[in-house]
Symmetry: C2
Subunit: 343 residues, 2 copies
Amino acid sequence: MKVTINDVAKLAGVSMKTVSRVINKEPSVRKKTYDIVMDAVNTLNYQPNLAARNLAGTSSFTVGLVYDNPNAYYVIDMQNGVLSRCKEEGYELVIHPCNYLDGNMEEDFKTMIKRSRLAGLVLTPPLSEQNSIIEMLDEMGIHYVRVLSGRPTEENQDTCIYVNDYAAAYEITAHLLSLGHKNIGFLCGDKEHKSTTERLEGYQAALKDHSIPLNDELIYEGQYSFESGVEGAKALLGESNPKNITALLGGNDEMAAGALFASRLMGIEIPQQLSITGFEDSPFSRQTWPKLTTAHQANDVISQHAARLLFRKTRGARNQDKDIITTFTPSLVVRESSGPTTA
Amino acid sequence: MKVTINDVAKLAGVSMKTVSRVINKEPSVRKKTYDIVMDAVNTLNYQPNLAARNLAGTSSFTVGLVYDNPNAYYVIDMQNGVLSRCKEEGYELVIHPCNYLDGNMEEDFKTMIKRSRLAGLVLTPPLSEQNSIIEMLDEMGIHYVRVLSGRPTEENQDTCIYVNDYAAAYEITAHLLSLGHKNIGFLCGDKEHKSTTERLEGYQAALKDHSIPLNDELIYEGQYSFESGVEGAKALLGESNPKNITALLGGNDEMAAGALFASRLMGIEIPQQLSITGFEDSPFSRQTWPKLTTAHQANDVISQHAARLLFRKTRGARNQDKDIITTFTPSLVVRESSGPTTA
DNA sequence: TAGAACATTGACAGCGTTGTCATTTTAACT
DNA sequence: AGTTAAAATGACAACGCTGTCAATGTTCTA
């Protein structure tokens, strides 16, 4: 019933250790031996036991995915990306949702790591930006890869995956400018998120490049939530839109959806009277009315590359994956929530 | 650095095996011994190694969560519920998204089970309804708990958690009837989902109990998606609402959101001209305009109980959790998308 | 063609637990 | 107190794999 490495060895007529070498793709196994062993593996349908591997080996076959992000779509995409890579490489994934504000996170981490010695961790924002965590991991000697909001100039190319929110925000803003908008509001997300400042700076850079003076009164500081989007739109548009805003950049899709909601309450027509854009292209940017113009962020692809980067580190010489992309720029998706100024 | 069961044993002055007994909560350990050992465990901050436990023991400490559901909110909730329980019991969770249509699922399952011998599986709909899968698992002797749409009368109370969609649909329909609606449309979800027929039957039962004749023309057969909700609303309301429908029951929140979207396109005011209701109370039922009246389904609680049920089976006598709820009925949440008939 | 250098393979211990079974301690009887 | 049954503990071999290091094959050099 249960087939072990010994069964394979017997069938192939080699030692246990040679089978081990084959399934671990170690070098210095003769091609012929390799084939014989693989045949045996296939006919017996052998699957190496993870627990035994983790116990016996110095490196482990489980990776952790850590997140503190309320966005279900984001999390699922990240999971699926990492998972698909894990499957290919024969790794197991342990997911670790957490709440940074909880405080006892450090303990939590240590427990997780002790219980199942991990090959490494994929950290997603905003946790990936927390220096205290990074230091802790460095101290503990845990491998990790961080997914971060940032621009290609940054260093740490071997341990970070960057999402260029700056460029994406620039592109969205440029899109609105090209439609004739001049007074563009910005609904800022959580200040603790690096993505917030990146997006804000991209927006400002675009304005500057088009010789539009910056105006702090057009910026609402909120959180990445629907409710905050509602509040932000109300705050910026006020009673009768005194600032004469014709376009609103949402910090993310949820805020944009909130702004859409608020506009509706205020009787503002979208996009005739006001353009609204999102960020991330999560499924519900297609489920609002009208559908949101936004910046598409391929989270599953991003997390796949994060996993690949991690494996490159953990597997060392055995894996020299050269095609890893370390910088991603979300790309503009124009839908119905943005249009030319009518003013 | 790394503390093992031996370190604990030494410090406590007992044998390795006794420590093992304590951490496994086996009976026949003297209270005094137990305390001494626990003290040692705590001072050393000992965490049993999962790989070793899985390898040595007959039962394993990993459970799997299997799902084939496109709804991110649902999946996250299920994960978190199971996960929270796993943490308490010292189990590890392996998530297993899959695509039933892929075909090679059986192989996929077997691989997963071989690689990390599992204590058991939590199956969520629609997979949990697939007899072929259940039979396979029975054959393989794998423990599992199914989360299913169904009514309390069903058997298998020790292996299934029921979500009473029938009652919930009944309640929503009754709500609409009480508001004066008579021509109530129904946007049917995927026919393969048990929840679809349960919800449909609940709707029909409510109508019958209020002496409203059933009319198949008011039922649209679609899928549980936003797009399908759009199509369904268009199909039922047609050019000028010839069937004189005043309320629309969405098969789930997404369909309801789609119907909302379509109504907007057709210039129909919600809820003044048309009431629309959802199902599940996923976050975005609060992010539509107007917010959706829906049936709240506590997925995290449901999955927690599923996990508890599973542990009761796998741990046998060691765990006699008596407070497991096996039937959940989603409860009506009235928001702004439903209102009295104006006709 | 001998000998060195290198490539390939194998024997065996050990990873940190739990299961089995033997041993010791305690409790419960006469 | 002496016996017996029951409860509590311990010794030690697994579990299925990988790391180490020694043993064997193979190729190259002179």
